[in-house]
């Protein structure tokens, strides 16, 4: 009996202790000899990805911006991508650190022998790819199936959002203000991609880049039928020079999101289905007869 149990244990151990090699977004092949049990994420969307794959309990620390799901708020906060607290991070003895390519700390962590995986989801397609990569890294049983299941859930939400867009809002021109200072989210951005999928027409075409700073004239001239922005930017919109004549302002078709929801809209992560639903709800409301 004891032998049998030992055999089972060994079998389980052998199963979980397989080395896995994945190629990250730096095109670096990263090999993990065991399924990581202590994971640190320095990008909010990566913490979200780990959690939607059901491995939230393996996270031991995150960056200061991670705030979803609620359980990650209680984890030690290790700064951001540019001011990571190296010592606090190393003290947590992570098996792997998930971060963005631009993180300054990458070279230092590699010197210290801590495996790093740089993943930078920027488009919905990236979100799918990152889900698959993270599922492989976590060494979940049936990793691909799990990742596909999550992705299908996201797709369903997007489809649902699409079906809620009223016919008269189809091909409506939209201006998405990404941050103060006149930065717009263009068609090339993550949120731009979602707007496109919902059948809305971005006034900022792809070739202008993801988050161009626009000349205020550009918005007035484009005369968008719908304006989407976050709470802090939404005061006195009609008083902006020339804005009182914009169709969206005249018809009160302005979607204002509180900053908590704005996170969902701008983070290229597994909540993109939720982002699509948020927008479609607002479109439905503003285009209601």
């Amino acid at each position: 009996m004891l032998k049998f149990l030992l055999g089972v244990c060994l079998g389980v151990w052998l199963h979980t202790a397989q080395a896995v090699t994945v190629v990250d977004d730096r095109q670096v092949a990263v090999t993990l000899h065991q399924a990581p049990q202590r994971i640190i994420s320095l990008l909010p969307s990566l913490a979200e990805t780990v959690c939607v794959l059901g491995a939230c309990s393996r996270l031991v620390g995150t960056d200061k911006h991670a705030n979803w799901p609620a359980s990650v708020k209680a984890l030690p906060k290790l700064g951001g991508l540019d001011d990571t607290q190296l010592e606090a991070l190393v003290r947590l003895k992570p098996d792997v650190v998930l971060l963005a390519k631009s993180a300054r700390i990458i070279a230092r962590l590699e010197e210290l022998g801590i495996p790093v995986l740089a993943l930078e989801p920027q488009t919905p397609a990236d979100v799918k790819r990152v889900l698959q990569t993270v599922a492989m890294v976590l060494q979940l049983p049936d990793a691909q199936v799990q990742a596909d299941k999550v992705w299908q859930g996201i797709q369903q939400q997007v489809d649902q959002a699409q079906s809620r867009i009223p016919a008269q809002a189809m091909n409506a021109t939209v201006y998405f203000e990404a941050s103060t200072g006149g930065y717009a989210a263009g068609e090339a951005s993550f949120i731009g991609d979602i707007l496109l999928q919902l059948g809305l027409k971005n006034i900022v075409p792809k070739d202008m880049g993801p988050f161009p700073q626009l000349n205020p004239e550009f918005v007035v001239r484009a005369n968008p039928q719908l304006i989407v922005l976050a709470q802090p930017m939404a005061t006195n919109l009609a008083q902006r020079p020339g804005w009182s004549g914009i169709a969206a302002i005249k018809n009160k078709r302005v979607c204002v999101f509180p900053s908590g929801q704005a996170d969902i809209l701008v983070r290229p992560g597994p909540r993109l289905g939720e982002a699509a639903l948020l927008i479609s709800d607002c479109v439905q409301r503003s285009f209601a007869p």
């Binding site: 001011d83 607290q85 190296l86 010592e87 390519k101 300054r104 010197e111 210290l112 988050f211």
Partner: protein
């Protein structure tokens, strides 16, 4: 005011350095920790390089500051005078923006872009700092005219600064990374960086010690220096190069740390008058003490949160300078 002999002041500063570094080893992510285990890999791999690195970077800046003030005979001169700060910033901005554009594919990039990517942030900051100094010398048409050099430095600073702003405006995603570089940061220093800075410090300190008689001569005025038989132009070129090298090395590793290079020579002068050679070495030691202390405070004051060390040096250095300006000693004398 009481002045202290060079050796005695040096001994004091060394002792202070040792104390500050000891505190540096004991300041961890959780605040103060008495009794440090040498075998703890966190102490060996993280705290030691960053503490020693902070001292070395401070020493480089202190030396460069003393050189700048001596060469330009101006108490407000600092290591960033010849545009190296804005050059380094531009280098970093280029590296960061390339990092974004380069996400598509490495092979598609032009030769120059690939080259810049390989250099990374540190390399680009170093190259940028040097390029800016060279540009300043070029615009000033040599090193003969102090005023022309200063003005060229200002011009280069403004123009490169504008280009940096333009780059960060085009790719606003680089803004936080840029900010962290501009504030100065000692938390990423590695053992390798320490070895590099130590070699450069020894080289720079040695060269400036050998050629320091020029600074002694310049104190009496340029023409007097010349009549003393000093070959002002070549010596000045060497010392400017030393200053550029020390500044570029420190800036590349730690970002733009404010005020250390400006304040260190002032602090030394408050306690010491004598040969420029001693002045340079003392300023260097003082810079090391200042930055190590600021680094300890940056880590300890708010632990486990960390302040950027440049914020502390800026606030402390600015405060000190203000106090000096208002104290009677400075009002009358030429510092």
């Amino acid at each position: 005011m009481n002045k202290i002999p060079a050796m005695q002041l040096a001994a004091w500063l060394m002792a202070l350095s040792v104390v500050a570094m000891g505190l540096g080893l004991m300041t961890g992510s959780l605040g103060w920790e008495w009794g440090v285990l040498w075998t703890d890999p966190i102490v060996q791999d993280i705290r030691l390089p960053r503490t020693v690195g902070a001292w070395l970077a401070g020493a480089l800046l202190g030396l460069a500051g003393a050189l700048a003030q001596g060469l330009f005979r101006n108490p407000l001169a600092d290591p960033y005078l010849l545009g190296s700060a804005s050059g380094a910033s531009l280098g970093v901005a280029i590296a960061l923006s390339l990092g974004l554009w380069g996400s598509a594919s490495f092979a598609d990039m032009s030769q120059a872009m690939q080259w810049a990517m390989r250099l990374g942030l540190t390399g680009m900051a170093f190259v940028g700092a040097w390029a800016a100094v060279l540009l300043t010398l070029l615009l000033a048409k040599g090193v003969e005219h102090t005023l022309r050099l200063l003005l060229a430095g200002v011009v280069v600073g403004v123009v490169l600064g504008a280009l940096t702003s333009l780059l960060t405006l085009i790719s606003p995603q680089t803004l936080p990374a840029m900010q962290s570089f501009l504030l100065g940061n000692t938390s990423m220093l590695s053992g390798q960086a320490c070895v590099l800075m130590a070699i450069v410090l020894l080289l720079c300190a040695g060269l400036s010690w050998i050629f320091s008689p020029l600074l002694d001569g310049l104190r009496l005025g340029e023409s007097t220096a010349q009549s003393l038989g000093l070959r002002v132009v070549p010596l000045r070129i060497v010392l400017l190069a030393v200053m550029g090298l020390a500044t570029a090395t420190a800036v590349a590793q730690t970002g733009l740390i404010a005020f250390v290079g400006l304040v260190a020579p002032h602090l030394v002068r408050a306690k010491f008058v004598g040969r420029s050679a001693s002045m340079l070495v003392l300023s260097s030691l003082m810079g090391g003490v200042l930055l190590t202390t600021a680094d300890v405070l940056a880590r300890g004051l708010w632990a486990p949160q960390e302040l950027p060390v440049g914020v502390l040096t800026g606030v402390l250095g600015g405060g000190y300078l203000l106090w000096r300006i208002h104290s009677s000693q400075m009002a009358g004398s030429s510092v």
